[in-house]
Amino acid sequence: MRLYLPIFILALLGFGFASFSVFMGTRLGPKRWNRAKLESYESGIEPTPHPPGGGRIPVKYYVTAMLFIVFDIEIIFLYPWAVTFNKLGAFGLVEMVTFVITVLVAYAYVWRRGGLEWD
């Protein structure tokens, strides 16, 4: 449990800062309530009962989301690798470089095909 003490303190600091900011915001900030303030994302697109165009939404987001997940899973493998890096030695390094290059193939493909362009 001693191991998690820094994480716990960091979480406490983050929570403390967030609650302090929100509290001071309510104390010091001006309060001018209107409908926009109560929306999910103020100044964003207003939530509509039906998406424009009769219930269809653009699927462009899917590529971005999938790439995000792909690289997230890569991070998952990096974590135990980093912990045992000294034990694994050069073999582990070669392994991980091979893996990262393999995943980078996907990135290069999506990038060159224009999957990262939002238009």
Partner: protein, 276 residues
Amino acid sequence: MTGVLAAGTNTDSVAVETVFWILAVVAVAAALAMILVRRAVHCAIMLAVVMLCLATMYAMQGAPFLAFVQIIVYTGAVLMLFLFVIMLIGITAADSIVETIKGQRLAAGLAAIGLLVLLALGIGHAAIGPAAPPSPKYGSGNLTGIATLIFTTYVFPFEVTGALLITAALGAMVLAHRERIAPRPTQRDLAARRLASGQVVGDPPPGIYALHDSADRPALLPDGSPAASSVSSVLNPRTGTEPPQVVRPGEKPQLEAADGGEREPAPSAGSGRAES
């Protein structure tokens, strides 16, 4: 329950159990709030709380790898994707009583009963029967254990996972990517097109002189009518614009008292006028 939880030494076990009970209350409260809260964004935040509680519990039981996977993948990625979807689509807080999927309620009820039976069996088994030994093979150093397994015994499956990830990205591209056929117009092309069309100045941004500054609220022209060109063509322009309210300096704006709605005074159109 306590036998499973007390994986550490005796001094730690009290702390572990205390934190477990605190987290259990927080997690169940957040899960209930997730179901009962009206706004989709608040639901997502409550789900984040539940996930963080689970991650902490994993860490308490000596499973740091699982804890960090829970935080990185579920809280960090999946939940953020939920939030992006809520932002992109926009979901109202209104409830729909219509069943969109046929037999949804029956299926949900059956699943709930099944889950309840499973939970009762699991908890009952842990409470009455002998608890399963907390996997002594790797003990508290299970992160090193999993690393040793992945990077020595199962090297090949690990490398093949890279191919699986390529397949996922490729599949996403095949399903969702629309190929650009014509070359992308450059800024110079766009400028030339705009000049050729006769409109020299740019489109007005949305929300100018309107009572809202959201992206789908058209700007208002000097006569109070909405400017259609101020809203992106992919959005549904929101109609129902009120004419801007002129508020002279030192004058109190007239507030709509009816529905407690838009209380913000309209931006002053006559800022150059002096107070009489």
